[in-house]
Symmetry: C2
Subunit: 271 residues, 2 copies
């Protein structure tokens, strides 16, 4: 999917919502556990109920790997279901991968070709030759970790590096990578005040923003400082939507929560 197609979807659906499919068997409705593939059935019901309210889905691969081969099968079925039934949806493999040259190419193939995701999250620590193999794939997007929303972000990301915070150096350095037009960035919503500085470095890039909702980030604040001329934001919510209820009505409850966020986004987009 091209960035322009994503922007078109945002305006069509009046939404820049991304729904995180972080499925934990301990948290999903009990009645699903009797089915052959509870994780896929859960995802399918959530997708069917919410696809008109969001522009992206983001499965975090850890939740699938934790169930071994069965989990991997659930992930495959989920992405195939999305690509077959909702090809207009932007898909994100939240895998936070990163390795050297030919190994990064192996990861890129796994997520972009075999699983046919539109994008994958990548950790920047190993630098240029760990990121560029992902960027080489046309109409695929590499979402680089910049400033994450967890407490540990202050261990290294916000430390000053040659006079500049590490996350800012990541933004600036990566702009010079080959095919950097395929870059997006993860920026946590718990630090809305940072968005103004970030927009000075990457005025147009899409930012994937976790931490609205469960982690306490504020949608209004993030949009005030973080929105670009072409929206440039994907706001992710996982637990706040998919675990709105763990009764048989869970999909309707999720849609209700997604609708609330979509409505707030519609108001913001009208301004």
């Amino acid at each position: 999917m091209t960035t322009q197609q994503l922007i078109t979807q945002i305006h069509k659906k009046k939404s820049f919502l991304c729904i995180g499919l972080d499925v934990d068997l301990n948290k999903i409705p009990h009645h699903l556990l009797e089915l052959e593939d509870p994780i896929f059935e859960f995802n399918k019901a959530i997708i069917d109920a919410t696809h008109h309210l969001c522009v992206a889905y983001k499965p975090n691969t850890a939740f699938y790997e934790a169930y071994g081969i069965k989990g991997w099968q659930s992930l495959e079925k989920t992405i195939h279901y999305l690509n077959q039934n909702h090809p207009e949806i932007f898909t994100i493999a939240d895998a936070k991968r990163g390795d050297i040259g030919n190994t990064s190419t192996m990861y890129a193939k796994a997520f972009f070709e075999d699983l046919a995701f539109d994008s994958v999250t990548v950790a920047p620590y190993m630098g240029k030759d760990s990121v560029e193999p992902f960027l080489a794939f046309k109409e695929k997007h590499t979402i680089l970790l910049a400033l994450t929303s967890n407490a540990g972000a202050f261990d290294f990301q916000t430390k000053a590096l040659d006079g500049k915070e590490l996350y800012k150096l990541v933004l600036e350095t990566s702009k010079n990578y080959k095919n950097s037009e395929n870059l997006m960035y993860v920026v946590g919503a718990t630090k809305a005040e940072y968005f103004a500085d970030i927009r000075k470095i990457v005025p147009n890039s899409f930012l994937l923003v976790p931490g609205v909702g469960a982690q306490g980030g504020n949608l209004q604040e993030v949009c005030k400082y973080g929105m670009s001329d072409h929206v440039g934001l994907l706001i992710n919510s996982s637990r706040g939507i998919i675990y709105a209820s763990n009764e048989t009505n869970f999909a309707d409850a999720a849609a209700h929560k997604a609708k609330e966020l979509q409505h707030q986004m519609e108001v913001i987009l009208k301004r």
Copy 2:
């Protein structure tokens, strides 16, 4: 496996060699491709021929994920084969994972419990709460990326951060993480001169050292500056050993290359 058990194995085998099982279907002997699971058959043959010469095996998960569910099955079979037949071998899932809190716990479970690896490589970018969930597992080891052996290491890792290079800050900061006795570090062999500085910060920790052989690192130099009182080094070689030949004699050729390295290590250990 405890660190002491690993040290005992090193002295018993007179080797601190780790063999990287980075299996690429394009590089393995042609006759294996006719078998049902070529990747596992390749690994099994390599393990059978080399297990007495090394103390650790390190599959890089990217090479397995690239083949989807079939690849994941090959990885499962490989680790089960190792744990059943060679429980004295230290096993490393080279996965370079890293995510927030409960998500890191999911990854840790996947590698430490389901697959029963002794250790996993983890990226430090997200800080404390992305690393500590791995450290909570008893007799399991978290191998944190410090200074990698690729060109991109100079993008961020060697940049001065509040007057100190990022990789040194990673070493120092992580020493204060809970259960930090379960930490080891990845330090690339292409920069032997850095080992002296690193040993000032982590005098006793085990260092996993890729880049000897194919990437040009020198074993003598690394040992001179990097060896601790209890060895403290695992030297990894992947391509140089496993692709020594792609004929039917590939396993013997691999054993021959492993023996060369083991012999050099035996001489160094005698000093």
